[in-house]
C-alpha cells in the first residue's frame, strides 16, 4: 500500500514536471503569430528592435511572457499577444524557442 502511494506521488511529480517543461512541438504549432515578427526559429527578427528568441533560456522566456501578460513589463504589442496566452501556451512556446540555436552567454576572458 505504501508502495502504491509512493508510486502515485512520483507519477504526480513527473506529470507536474512535464507540464511545466512545455511541449516544443505544440510550441511550434502555437508560434504562428510569433513567427510573423520573430521568425520560425526566433533568429529572424522583423525589426532590429525586436529581440532574438532562439536559444534563450526557457524559464526566462516564460518569465518574459508572463510579465507581458500581467503588465509588469510594458510593451503595447507584446501585451496584446501575451494577454491571450494560457500558462500551457507560454510553456510550449518557451520550449520551442529555447531549443533553437541562437543566443549565447557572454564569455569571460
Amino acid at each position: 500500500m505504501i508502495r502504491v502511494s509512493l508510486l502515485t506521488v512520483m507519477l504526480a511529480l513527473v506529470s507536474t514536471q512535464l507540464q511545466a517543461a512545455g511541449d516544443y512541438r505544440r510550441g511550434l504549432e502555437k508560434s504562428q503569430v510569433c513567427q510573423s515578427c520573430h521568425g520560425r526559429t526566433g533568429n529572424e527578427s522583423l525589426q532590429p528592435s525586436y529581440p532574438k528568441l532562439a536559444g534563450q533560456h526557457e524559464d526566462y522566456l516564460v518569465h518574459a511572457l508572463k510579465s507581458y501578460r500581467d503588465g509588469s513589463r510594458q510593451n503595447a504589442v507584446m501585451a496584446g499577444f501575451a494577454g491571450n496566452l494560457s500558462d500551457a501556451d507560454i510553456a510550449d512556446l518557451a520550449a520551442w524557442y529555447s531549443r533553437q540555436d541562437g543566443l549565447s552567454d557572454l564569455e569571460i576572458d
Partner: protein, 107 residues
C-alpha cells in the same frame, strides 16, 4: 542642389540599425560588470527565480532599447536599473556593440 536633396532623403531612409554602431573594444571594458551575471551559464535571478537571459548575439537595437528603458525606469528590474543608470548613450552603444559581436563568428 538636387543631389544634396537626394542625399538628405537617402540619409533619412537609412534604418537606425545601421546608425547604431559603437566601439566593441571599448564596450568589452564596460561589459566586465555584465559578465558577473550574463557570463555565467545558468546563473539565476531570484525573487522571482529564472535564469539570467543570454545576451550574446542579441540584436543591438533591442539591447539599446532595453538598457535605455532600464535607465529611464520604464522597465523594472532593480539590479539592471542600477547598472543602466551608470551608462551614457555612448557607453550603451559600445557595450551593445560588444554583445552583438558574440554572434555567429564569436567575439
Amino acid at each position: 542642389m538636387r543631389l544634396i536633396w537626394i542625399a538628405v532623403v537617402l540619409a533619412a531612409l537609412v534604418p537606425p540599425s545601421v546608425l547604431a554602431e559603437g566601439d566593441p573594444e571599448r564596450g568589452k571594458i564596460i561589459a566586465y560588470t555584465c559578465t558577473g551575471c550574463h557570463g555565467i551559464p545558468f546563473y539565476k535571478n531570484v525573487y522571482p527565480t529564472y535564469t539570467v537571459p543570454k545576451i550574446g548575439g542579441q540584436n543591438q537595437e533591442y539591447l539599446i532599447v532595453a538598457l535605455k528603458a532600464y535607465r529611464e525606469g520604464t522597465r523594472q528590474h532593480a539590479t539592471m536599473q542600477a547598472q543602466a543608470s551608470t551608462l551614457s548613450d555612448q557607453d550603451i552603444l559600445d557595450v551593445t556593440a560588444y554583445f552583438v559581436s558574440f554572434g555567429e563568428n564569436g567575439p
